[in-house]
């Protein structure tokens, strides 16, 4: 009877045993691999968890906010909204005309006493205003008024219309320690009958049923339908942008994180690969022995892989724990176990794949060695050269260093690249930090051109006849004033911006107010650059009464339509003598950067903080990578150095040689860092500028680079000294004998 015997290769236990043994005998290498893995995992973890924390925190904030505000409501509309089933919760509020007192903007408001689940500034002391004479304010408001912050104090308010009314402070509102707008909360009675609020229509803050589960588009659709059914015009539907944008994850944020994540993984592939490569090459004889003893190629591969997996798990777990700690410290409010565990698992898998990719080649190398080859194997064998060109080269320690680097080109290059990637990351991170100085950041908007903005008094624009134009008739900001400001010592320049108030009719908007701004012939190229739609000719614009629309996308957001090219807009304005009505043709539209900037501001500060934190972490990462690689390079060659010493190389000569090698690596690294790092930093700033971060200006991070150069050059000096000293703990013979 024929029986085919299946060759059983049940070797799980012995492979596991060998791997564990091997790990125990090469502690130095393990520490460096662990460090690399823990660092990359930690970096990925901090980045994603901090982002997730930000999202969670924002969602927590949003969960106590309204989804939409229906504005400008009359009684029947309020009734209709109250009867809408899709509205989970509705609360009424009024926002009065603001006015200035002692440099602070004061805003009369009314909202209901209990507005849960929507958070409003609630009363933290005293009571909610009950009758027409009672108000509730921030404590800081009392400060602004020069009064003592106590309940029962009488406050006299002079409104825009010049009327003064006296109120009793019934309660204090939460928060508002640092503010420029001071709310004054009035009673329901005042909202109905008080002079400042009675003519202001109500607005309804609503939370919509199941809105959290909808897409942004479906949500907008829902609130617009609800509005239309209740007879609320589109422009009076004000969705909570924070909420609606939270419905779709920001693609840019995710892309940034994914990009940086892939970069970090690539760096760790390089580092883990080179460390494993060196380690495998160093113990090739052992693998040869195992092969002679009957280990199959597959078993050797499994052995190396097993070592990698064990190190990967240990490194990843410690990296993740560190990341959890840091992420929690960054965003304690945003901690969420479910997100944390899922993200950690994803990162863990990504890193496991990274390690597999990194040790694939070293494992193959280990498996491919036959017993005979192994005895004569040297890392230098990888290089095809069999002969040198010269019979005798200069054998000074420095020359030996050059020869070592040249003879082992692959390893030298690998090390340089591994260092270089870290350097490039460092320079890019540093470029971000120095390119975004707080000054530039706070100089967004008008402040990018100057330190002071002089404009009309708000109360005046609201009260003077014909508003802005009324003041412009007798413009206080005239040439004389400009000249006198320019005359002040220290003033470099005065820039003027002009606009005038108009009202217009277009589509369903009748008598809508807006402003009109001119641009000069010299400026037309800039305007042309910003043009998103249409085209113009400066002279024709004047001759044919043509206009350009700024921020057409904003119109789309508010009204649900855009200004179409070729359409006619009827514009009315006060020309100083009388109200004039004139028709203009739309010939172009543009989306100016500054407007975009305001829209994206919140998300930018968020992104900025993240990149800033990331840059600092990356700088730390690349420094540790640098030290790691340099130390590995020295420690893994202990035997080679002992050999040189056994035939008469003195400590001093050995140190000179090691330092020379460090110098060669450093030079290669610095060239890579300088060229690619500068390019990457410049590109990053360019990209950030192109998406609106105009406050970024590329600056070469010279101090960081100098620091990096110093560390790159000094670490080999110190490490070589320390290792030569450490070598002496064991006698030369012991060192010669030891494989690792």
């Amino acid at each position: 009877m024929k029986r085919r015997e299946k060759i059983k290769n049940n070797n799980k236990r012995i492979i596991g045993h060998l791997a564990a043994r091997s790990l125990r005998t090469s502690k130095t290498r393990n520490i460096f691999i662990l460090l690399t893995i823990a660092l990359s995992v930690g970096l990925l973890g901090v980045m994603t968890l901090a982002y997730s924390g930000t999202v969670v925190e924002r969602n927590k904030e949003i969960s106590v906010m309204q989804h939409v505000i229906y504005e400008n409501l009359a009684d029947p509309q309020i009734k209709a909204l109250e009867n809408t089933k899709k509205i989970d919760f509705l609360t009424l509020a009024k926002l009065g005309q603001g006015f200035e007192i002692n440099g602070g903007m004061v805003r009369p408001v009314y909202y209901e006493e209990i507005t849960e689940p929507i958070q409003t500034n609630s009363i933290c002391e005293g009571t909610y205003p009950q009758n027409i004479h009672e108000i509730a304010v921030n404590r800081s408001f009392m400060n602004l008024m020069g009064l003592s912050a106590s309940i029962g104090e009488t406050v006299s308010l002079t409104f825009l219309d010049g009327e003064s009314e006296a109120f009793v402070v019934a309660g204090f509102l939460e928060g508002g320690e640092v503010t420029k707008v001071y709310p004054v909360l009035f009673s329901k009675e005042y909202a109905e009958a008080g002079s400042q609020l009675k003519d202001i229509p109500y607005q309804a803050l609503c939370r919509i049923q199941g809105a959290e589960k909808q897409s942004e588009q479906a949500f907008l659709e829902t609130i617009r339908t609800i509005g239309a059914d209740a007879g609320v015009e589109r422009k009076n539907i004000n969705e909570n942008n924070n909420f609606s944008s939270s419905l779709t994850m920001s693609a840019i944020d995710v892309l940034v994180i994914a990009g940086v994540g892939v970069g970090i993984l690539l760096v760790s592939v390089l580092v883990v690969y080179s460390v494993f490569y060196l380690s495998v090459a160093g113990r090739i004889q052992q693998y040869g022995q195992l092969r002679t003893l009957g280990a199959t190629k597959r078993q050797i591969k499994a052995l190396v892989n097993r070592e990698g997996i064990i190190l990967c798990i240990a490194g990843a777990v410690s990296g993740l724990l560190i990341a959890w700690l840091i992420a929690y410290c960054i965003k304690p409010q945003g901690w969420n176990w479910e997100h944390t565990l899922i993200l950690s698992l994803v990162i863990f898998l990504a890193d496991l794949i990274t390690v597999f990719v990194s040790i694939r080649k070293p494992a193959k190398l280990a498996a491919s060695v036959s017993a005979i080859e192994a005895s004569g194997f040297s890392q230098y064998r990888q290089n095809g050269e069999k002969e040198s060109k010269k019979i005798l080269r200069k054998l000074t320690p420095l020359n030996l260093a050059v020869m070592s680097a040249m003879r082992n080109r692959k390893k030298t290059l690998l090390t340089m690249i591994s260092l270089g990637v870290g350097g490039v990351l460092l320079l890019t991170g540093a470029a971000f930090i120095v390119s975004m100085t707080p000054e530039d950041y706070s100089r967004q908007g008008f402040y990018q051109w100057g330190e002071f903005v002089i404009n009309y008094d708000y109360n005046a624009t609201q009260t003077v006849e014909n508003g802005n134009v009324g003041i412009q008739m007798n413009n206080p900001l005239n040439d004389e004033l400009i000249a006198s400001i320019q005359g002040i010592n220290g003033v470099k320049d005065v820039l003027s911006f002009n606009k005038t108030q108009i009202s217009y009719d277009y589509k369903d908007e009748i008598n809508a107010t807006d402003s009109l701004a001119p641009f000069t012939r010299e400026n037309q190229e800039n305007v042309k650059d910003a043009l998103a739609e249409g085209s113009f000719d400066y002279d024709e614009m004047i001759a044919k009464d043509e206009i350009l629309i700024a921020n057409n996308t904003v119109a789309d957001e508010i009204f649900g339509w855009k200004f179409e090219m070729g359409d006619i807009v009827t514009i009315r304005y006060f020309n100083g003598v009388e109200e004039v009505e004139k028709e203009f043709t739309i010939v172009g539209s543009m989306d100016t950067l500054s407007e975009q900037l305001i829209l994206d501001k919140t998300s930018f500060t968020l992104l900025n903080k993240m990149i800033l934190g990331l840059s600092i972490f990356i700088i730390g990462f690349s420094l540790i990578n640098l030290i790691n690689t340099l130390i590995t390079n020295i420690v893994s060659r202990r035997q080679e150095f002992s050999m040189l010493q056994s035939i008469g190389m003195s400590n001093r000569q050995l140190m000179r040689m090691i330092q020379g090698e460090g110098l060669i690596l450093a030079l290669g690294n610095l060239v890579i860092t300088l060229i690619l790092g500068t390019g990457a930093g410049y590109l990053m700033v360019y990209l950030l500028r192109s998406v609106g971060a105009t406050y970024m200006h590329y600056r070469f991070p010279s101090w960081y680079f100098m620091g990096y150069v110093l560390v790159t050059l000094l670490v080999p000096v110190f490490v070589s000294g320390a290792s030569v000293r450490a070598f002496h703990k064991a006698s030369l013979v012991d060192r010669l004998r030891k494989m690792e």
Binding site: R393, L395, L400, R407, L644, I647, S650, H728
Partner: protein
């Protein structure tokens, strides 16, 4: 005239019950110009003794004197320099530097000492050891026997006072072994050198002036 002398040299590894006595009180003296062979079973302490003689290892107890100088009293740096000038080593595993070619390996101790090699002399050694034509080759491309001969050439190149060789003919066929030993003998005669070698080969040992046998870390014959 004594060139090399050890007094009660002991080398212990570990302590207590685990204590291994690699050398247990070796007293030995070697005269200038002598060819001494050390034999013994593996693990008897031959290599350890050789390392002690060359200052590569430090004895737990006792002293090693070369030319009246006690090695353990020298500073690390001094010892290294002393070693590369006075002692030529032939290691069992060759210890050749892979980034250097054959010629460079041979003259490395001289170069490290800042000396110009005596080219005529070095080429003479290369001829004798049948290494002619391999000068510019890298050592990892050579056979075991060739590498052994490079290691011997390196030990001879700096004309040291003492040559310490661990199985110098271990990888050589018997004909080459005889030739190599002939060369070593000729060299010590010409330059008044002393040779201490470890060997397993009785024929080779018989060519020595004196044979000592080591067992359990002690000299038991010789």
């Amino acid at each position: 005239m004594k060139i090399l002398e050890t007094k009660n040299v002991k080398k212990y590894y570990g302590n207590g019950d685990n204590c291994v006595k690699a050398l247990d009180g070796v007293d030995l003296s070697v005269d200038k110009g002598e060819l001494l062979a050390i034999v013994g079973t593996s693990g008897s302490g031959k290599s350890t003794l050789l390392h002690m003689l060359g200052g590569l290892d430090i004895p737990t107890e006792g002293s090693v004197m070369i030319n009246g100088k006690e090695l353990s009293k020298m500073k690390e740096e001094q010892l290294t320099i002393f070693r590369r000038r006075q002692i030529g080593f032939v290691f069992q595993n060759y210890n050749l530097v892979p980034m250097l070619n054959v010629y460079e390996n041979i003259v490395l101790p001289l170069e490290l000492d800042g000396n110009k090699p005596d080219r005529k002399y070095v080429h003479g050694i290369i001829d004798l050891l049948h290494l002619k034509g391999t000068e510019t080759r890298f050592t990892n491309g050579l056979s075991g026997g060739q590498q052994q001969r490079v290691a011997i050439a390196r030990a001879l190149a700096s004309k040291p006072a003492i040559i310490l060789a661990d199985e110098p003919t271990g990888n050589l066929d018997s004909k080459t072994s005889q030739e190599v030993l002939g060369l070593l003998k000729m060299s010590i005669k010409k330059f008044g050198q002393t040779l201490v070698m470890i060997t397993h080969n009785n024929e080779i040992a018989q060519l020595a002036d004196r044979i000592i046998r080591i067992e359990d870390g002690r000299i038991c014959e010789g």
